[in-house]
Amino acid sequence: MVQYTQGRSTQGRFDVSFAALSDATRRGVLEQLGRADASITDLAEKFDMSLTGMKKHVVVLEHARLVTTAKVGRVRTCKLGPRRLEEEAAWLHKYRQLWDARFNALDQVIEELKQKETGNGNKDGHRKRK
């Protein structure tokens, strides 16, 4: 029951990634490959699955560019694909946006605390800062 949509648009790419990641075994495979490259046979054994079943999962991950494979001799080795790097860059970008937004709001809070403190230190109270 392996399905994926092919497409060159961003939406198509998203669907492919989404389909690839929406399966627990495939997420497990990515986790495994994050630790070390592995052959399809290794992966099939680790996930207690037939070679054919694992091959199907790997194909889905390859289409999403989450995994790349290379055949050396008679063994097909899998490793994390370029998509992982793009994800990391995208994530870092979002992470930066989050902190930037927080810090801009925090700047205002600190500015107010400073003003309040100046106000308290000043018995007249109402004097405005220039």
């Binding site: 902190w99 925090l106 700047d107």
Partner: protein, 167 residues
């Protein structure tokens, strides 16, 4: 630099730069300078009524439902957010507290092996350099945060989807 960040606040110099670095397989470091003494910056990081004003940016559509902090070594914290009609709770412990200079907390909502965050506040003549160090439990934990964060889905949401699809 994104022009989006320039909100054109009156009489305000442009915001200080934020630096972000992936230090290792398990570590992220963020730095930023604030125009105020460390004592006040620390206050803004620890008092619930102040945290609520900046920790969840409005642009993200997340709001605070509850915010409790017991800021002492071994004390707990609990943040509850509302996002698109559902609530999420984040909680953990303060592992180390040195008022005005250092704050270390754990994240425990994900069970054992959560992220540990260390924040140091360095006073530099009235300005404060804040350094945020996030230590993930493993390379996998950080990789997973990055992989799921980029698509905007958590492993838990995928698991929920899994159970829906196999029904």
């Amino acid at each position: 630099m994104e022009t989006k960040m320039d909100t054109g606040k009156e009489n305000k110099p442009s915001a200080n730069p934020t630096t972000i670095e992936r230090k290792s397989d398990r570590e992220l470091v963020v730095t930023r300078t604030f125009n105020g003494p460390a004592r006040l910056v620390f206050e803004a990081w620890t008092k619930p009524e102040l945290i609520q004003r900046w920790w969840t940016p409005k642009s993200m559509g997340i709001t605070f439902v509850a915010c409790e902090t017991d800021v002492r070594t071994g004390g707990g914290y609990r943040f509850v957010f509302s996002y698109q009609g559902s609530e999420m709770a984040f909680f953990g412990k303060y592992l180390e507290v040195i008022p005005g200079s250092r704050l270390v907390w754990s994240n425990e909502e994900g069970g054992e092996g959560g992220t540990v965050t260390t924040v140091t506040f360095e006073d530099k003549a009235g300005e404060t350099l804040v350094l945020i160090h996030e230590l993930y439990a493993s390379k996998t934990a950080l990789d997973e945060a990055m992989a799921t964060g980029a698509i905007g889905w958590s492993a838990e949401q995928f698991d929920q989807l899994d159970s829906l699809l196999t029904m």
